[in-house]
Homo-oligomer: 423 residues x 2
């Protein structure tokens, strides 16, 4: 079957909103066998909407409409459907009850705008929305199944996993699921990994589709087979990947560098502390973003100035004078000082020049020293990432977390981060 | 003139990439008078591309194509154009020189894949790309101006501001620029502000278009006139807005809460320190993300546990025991302790329950105390935001920064944040 997606909303045409819904729709429907073949976006214009619906419903088996179900005058999807099929809007009892229940649960009375959402074209049925006030709309027109969904992402997500998936499966019971494995990597980019696969895995089985999704800072690698009987191939490919680049594989699915580090620290019963200069609290922020971080993290220090490095982390005045704040000696002393001040087991310390100012010839913008490890085994390494300030902070935070991750796994060598990239 | 946008790329269809290019295109072209009316996305399929190009070039005056100009086999735009007009691809001298220069500047030899990018359809001309190896393609077909641009965002941005804007202006010299003013607000949402405008500004001049762009945590309000002679209206509207909600207006254009706070601190010659519990370093991270933050910020403390609050911030053991970490007394003591430890002038301290665990009946998840001000005038306030952990941290960081912003402007009352929202 062929599926088209019709997105509606002036905010999508004006650029005021970046469309992340269509990515969500593809990501949730593709694995269960419903691939989007075509995508059209139009503004909130009734005639254009009807025209597009008419064209798409002639060419596609399924049209998923997203947006235009809300309570305001801009929301035209129901009216457009009615115009398309030449019927009226009527009060749909199920939708009416849904709106009332939704309002009652919030202690408010349904107003006229809310009740507009209960008006559906004759012949349409309700696609349940467990989150919001607007119900979705399902309508069979000619040979085409029309499924209308709301633009609010949380509502859309709930419906894609619920009523929309059910409607699709009941119309196409033979659509075949895909079997997807998602690995998260840090320290390799898409082009480097692709090149490595081309070089090392020329006999890669055709049944196993490889996909990439570049993110900052992690790269997602997707291994996909569309038939259950090929799961063995997929497992073989994953094994080969782990042999090739296993140390760059941080985790799976929704795992992040900080969530993996928090889990490893908890597993080993270690407490972490942080002494951050150029990353300015970003590492602490990433660690404490993880639910349960308090089990492994009690204290972090953001020590921007030399005075504070001396007063709070007990870095020697002479060491700071002699080597400068961005030096192996100082970052080592910061690490030791933080361990002592916080009474922790593990540490990350960072001192560098985020820019755009503050660079010198010997230590240009992008120079950074990272220390990590435990009291009797503090390691240090110098990196150089001359990139824009925010991206520099993100990269260094990620490198530091990854070095601690590797340390907690017993690996003390510094890998070649991003050394294979061609672009 | 009517403009369509044709986006191409399998990654856009599979959901592996969120399309932010079309938002960028609209945002850069709309203000100079070129509004996108229609948007279509297709995968990397030659026949589909030709079909779409054929349809769109009959219906629109301008078609902007994005994607498919790269060096790999997936990149089909030039071939699709050639097929559309029934002509061959030939080596374009200008494109050929560009590729060679691009490679030479990087000390590499142009390979076959690079040189593929110099093959353009007969009759096409080059749209200069100052950033990347792929040139853009301009082609007049029937009554339609076709402009093909690369998918790499940095290249696309440079071309939209350069060769694409020039090509459009030279074809449509009378396209009229829009005059846009962008204000950033914190503490009001789109629905609340819209309602306020409906209630208080019923005589709003039709010449001044209002637009919103919701972001976390700031709301962007856009005031736009399309004729220079209406700029006075726009200024009047801005004045009325400032009278109505001026204290919620944080800044303009790219300003953020933290950049405004850093600027205010610098202006007043004040140094800031931070004592963060539940926000876990996020405030420090936002402050130090601002270039020049070191002029106003030397030290921040992430004090998760009670022991650390005692040891580092000198919070009384008895006070912690008696009132608990999430209390007015403790957050006040954290603020005082941080000021002393850092030798700073201004302070923000935060202590709360981010969840999902740790709540009690008296202090449920989402409860948070914020302290802000200076040594002899530390203010405190209790808030309650029972939302998902990451969003809670972002909201509280923003509220705390906004309270300090207001304090630095001489305002010590706590405003009703997000009190007008209906949804």
């Amino acid at each position: 079957m062929k599926i088209a997606l019709l997105l509606t909303g002036n905010e999508l045409m004006s650029g005021d909103t970046v469309d992340s819904n269509s990515s969500m729709i593809a990501q949730l429907l593709d694995p269960i066998g419903f691939e989007i073949n075509h995508k059209v976006t139009v503004g909130d214009d009734l005639d254009l909407l009807v025209l597009e619906l008419d064209k798409l419903s002639q060419q596609y088996d399924v049209v998923i409409v997203n947006g235009g179900l809300g309570p305001t005058v801009d929301d035209l999807t129901a009216i457009a459907l009615a115009k398309l099929i030449g019927k009226n809007l009527v009060k749909n009892q199920q939708a009416f009850e849904h709106v009332h229940e939704w309002c009652a649960a919030r202690g408010i009375e349904a107003n006229e705008a809310n009740l507009k959402q209960a008006m559906l074209p004759i012949g349409a049925s309700v696609l349940a929305n467990p989150v919001g006030s607007a119900v979705g709309i399902q309508l069979q027109y000619r040979q085409c199944l029309l499924l209308c969904t709301p633009g609010v992402p949380s509502e859309l997500r709930a419906m894609l996993n619920g009523s929309v998936a059910e409607a699709l499966k009941s119309s196409y019971p033979n659509a075949s699921s895909k079997y997807v494995r998602r690995l998260k990597l840090f320290g390799m980019g898409e082009s480097g990994l692709q090149q490595l696969l081309d070089d090392e895995c020329s006999d890669w089985p055709a049944e196993v589709i490889v996909g990439f999704r570049a993110g900052a800072p992690l790269l997602e690698l997707k291994l996909e087979v569309s038939d259950k009987k090929h799961l063995g191939y997929r497992d073989d490919c994953e094994k080969r990947l782990r042999e090739l680049v296993g140390d760059f594989i941080v985790g799976e699915n929704d795992e992040t560098l900080s969530s993996v580090v928090v889990d490893l620290l908890a597993e080993k019963g270690r407490m972490l502390t942080l002494a951050e200069s150029c990353t300015g609290g970003l590492i602490a922020s990433q660690i404490t973003e993880v639910s349960g971080a308090s089990k492994v993290f009690e204290a972090g220090f953001v020590t921007y100035s030399n005075t504070i490095k001396e007063n709070v982390l007990a870095v020697d005045h002479e060491v700071l004078e002699q080597y400068g704040a961005v030096s192996q000696e100082v970052v080592h002393a910061m690490a030791s000082g933080a361990l002592l001040a916080a009474g922790a087991d593990c540490v990350i310390a960072v001192s560098g020049i985020a820019g755009p100012e503050g660079g010198t010839i010997e230590k240009p913008v992008g120079t950074v020293w990272v220390a990590w490890g435990e009291e009797d085994s503090i390691m240090t390494h110098r990196f150089n990432y001359p990139v824009e300030r925010k991206f520099f902070q993100l990269m260094i935070s990620s490198v530091a977390l990854d070095l601690l991750r590797r340390y907690l796994l017993g690996e003390t060598n510094v890998p070649g981060y991003f050394q294979r990239e061609s672009r």
